[in-house]
């Protein structure tokens, strides 16, 4: 597909206390940003289980944006540092799986940074557009080497029903 006409599907995780409010602020201030991101609100970026990211990518997302409070400003004292550590290790694991680590991005945005949230989102969508679709394979059946699922190929050529040995 031509990447210029490809609309990436992005899953965004926001923190209830800062980045979700930043996106809210961007909305009430009528700032324009790319509509590709689907936001999911968590209580904290520290709630972000890497499973969420893997599930999103394996189920059809082209990129995942993780957002949280700036370091030192976490509502739960220091959970955003945990998110940072998970994110850095997750990126290493993803590159081992042949996924461009740039498909997952961590953005800090405080509740006052609606403009930053909007511009970072638009920037990320453009980055993913350049990378192209991820198209992760979902269907195990297509992996069968038995080309015709209905074939009657038998493991044996002689089909005489001999006695089964006891």
């Amino acid at each position: 597909m031509d990447n210029d006409h490809f609309e990436p599907t992005i899953i965004g995780f926001t923190c209830n206390w800062c980045s979700y409010r930043a996106s809210d602020l961007a909305g009430t201030a009528r700032m324009k940003y790319a509509p590709n991101v689907r936001l999911i609100r968590l209580m904290c970026s520290g709630r972000l289980d890497p499973t969420f990211v893997l599930r999103a990518l394996s189920a059809g997302a082209d990129g995942v944006m993780i957002t949280g409070c700036h370091p030192g400003e976490c509502h739960y004292i220091e959970q955003n540092y945990k998110a940072l550590r998970r994110y850095l290790l997750l990126k290493r694991v993803l590159s081992g799986l042949g996924i461009e680590p740039e498909r997952v991005k961590l953005v800090w945005a405080s509740a006052a940074e609606g403009a930053r949230f909007a511009s970072e989102t638009t920037l990320f969508v453009e980055e993913i557009r350049k990378l192209g679709p991820l198209n992760w394979s979902k269907d195990s059946d297509q992996l069968s080497v038995i080309s015709d699922q209905s074939d009657n190929w038998s493991l044996i050529t002689d089909n005489s029903s001999e006695e089964v040995p006891a």
Partner: protein, 329 residues
Amino acid sequence: MNPKPKFAMYWAASCGGCEIAVLNTHEKILDVDANFDIVFWPVAMDAKYKDVEAMEDDSILLTLFNGGIRNDENERLAKLLRRKSKILVAFGSCACEGCIPGLANLSPVGDIVYTAFNTITTDNPNEIYPRTTVDVPEGELHIPTLSKVVRPLEQVVDVDYFMPGCPPESHQIAAVIDLVIDVIKGKAELPPKGSVIGVGNSTVCDECPRTRNVKMVKEFKRIQDIAPADPTLCILEQGVPCNGPATRSGCNARCPQAGAQCIGCYGPAEGVIDYGARLITAFASVIDANTPEEIEHILDGIPDPTGQVYRFNLAGSLMKATKSAWEKA
């Protein structure tokens, strides 16, 4: 007297360790023979595929299927044994989640075959590579064709029970054999379909006798590089990536008790959707650093993060394989 119920065991993409673990139940194997009619077990007795095909559907009471699905022969046998068996057990880590053979999903299958016949120590001057068919005067011969990726049994056929472990511990196998015999005699009931059997319901850490404190790791190391290792202190706390926090209990924490880190052969613990993700969380939470530079420096101590967190579970994980393995032939 009623005929004895039938028992089968098959190996697909596996090493044979599961069969040894079954034989390692010592005299319990005599109970299997006393209570079951063993109809198909290629490792232990001579039987042909045609014998299995000739059986009536659902005529085998219990089939222990070990090994993942790597080629068309594995796949056909999985489908055949599913049809012939009342209870199909994914037996051992390979059948449950791909295990070590599942790490082949990190590479396209063409690369794997090429590498196998092309390493610096391989003497292959005429560059001969295996073909799946060959014409001989008597006709065309076939060998099984490799599929793109290794798949756990559940991705190919419906599975009744899962029994993880590489291999499953013999005392757990013995307990399961006892249970099935009790069921046959009407003294017990089978667990609900889809259950993971022969395991504990917690993590390896819960069975581990080592002392656990708050973990703050400044540097990840290999087990052979910590000297002297403290035999009573949590291995992860000593800076060695130990897979215990994500791994299902059931083995009595054998490796940590013997002085080695858990490598995760019992697969994801109860409630864990993606084994690697759980381990990423566990390792990230012990890192004692808050700046990206310092965290990256500490993470450099895990040289192969993907292999570390998906050592046994890659084929059964959410991503299942690398991008190149999906895409290339």
